[in-house]
Symmetry: C2
């Protein structure tokens, strides 16, 4: 079975973005370069929600272009915005199918609501977050309320010079 | 000015307790003993909300007894439950006054709502949390929505054998 990982950057008070979707508070660290390079080497599929897609597409015209297959989960988007992206209505069904197919690892990007449905369906294997040293006070939550408790096993904890802490867990 | 710290244990999804106030998911680690011993040496005052007081008092009959002065912030409690505890209605006014008085450090215990008002009033100097490897899915939040952003500086990050990570920050 292919490994499904959910990750990104978050604030200490559990937000992935400000209310308007902005992420000016996220800082990049050179120390992340080798970690992310290694991570992306193992990924051949990205699954994201519609809102994450829209924010990502704003910043880059080549979302979905290249060797990584991109799925956008949406019940409102009628067709793919470009030929490199596939729109899918049912995220749980999609990820179940992808996991059973041959391939490399699958990255769940952004979307706390997308992750919530995948957590509840038991489809996420690992999570990794770069916890930023800030309390945003409000915004778009990373972890939403869920019907069940998810137990984790800490795999790694890395402290960066910019005050971020990267926490990686296996879902048990 | 006396240092005010807010700390405790939390789940990765920002809860300090289950909906019913229970904290069976919190694990103690021997590695915490010297850290907490050193921490409590510098504290002579504890400020908590009414709900935290009720949970704490259930587990121990000597809350407020001993060399540490305990304040319970409540608008509904009419009088102190015992002579060792003082009931105060306005937490912000109390902590402002305490900070200006001579003494050791002040510990804000439990109470995400209590902490929210103190954060907004700029009265918290340091925070420290022992992040547990679990997504509870629901419960009583640690960090509540706030009117303003609080910037932090990472002071320390310690990984324990039980999978907990202790994060300590200075409010900047």
């Amino acid at each position: 079975m292919r490994k499904v990982t959910f990750g990104g950057a978050n604030s200490l008070d559990n937000y992935i973005a400000r209310k308007d979707g902005s992420y000016d508070w996220i800082t990049w660290s050179k120390e992340l370069n080798p970690i992310m390079k290694k991570y992306w080497k193992n990924i051949d599929t990205v699954v994201m929600g519609r809102k994450t897609y829209e924010v990502t597409a704003k910043g880059s015209t080549d979302v979905g272009v290249g060797p990584i297959k991109t799925y956008v989960c949406s019940r409102t988007l009628k067709k793919a915005p470009n030929k490199h992206v596939e729109v899918v209505a049912d995220a749980v069904k999609l990820v179940k199918r992808l996991k059973s197919e041959p391939g490399k690892e699958i990255c769940i990007m952004g979307g706390g609501l997308l992750a919530k449905s995948l957590f509840e369906a038991g489809l996420i294997d690992e999570i990794g977050f770069n916890v930023h040293p800030v309390l945003l006070g409000s915004g778009i939550p990373l972890f939403h309320k869920m019907k069940k408790q998810i137990n984790l096993e800490l795999l790694e904890c890395r402290q960066f010079k910019n005050g971020c802490v990267m926490l990686t867990y296996r879902v048990t």
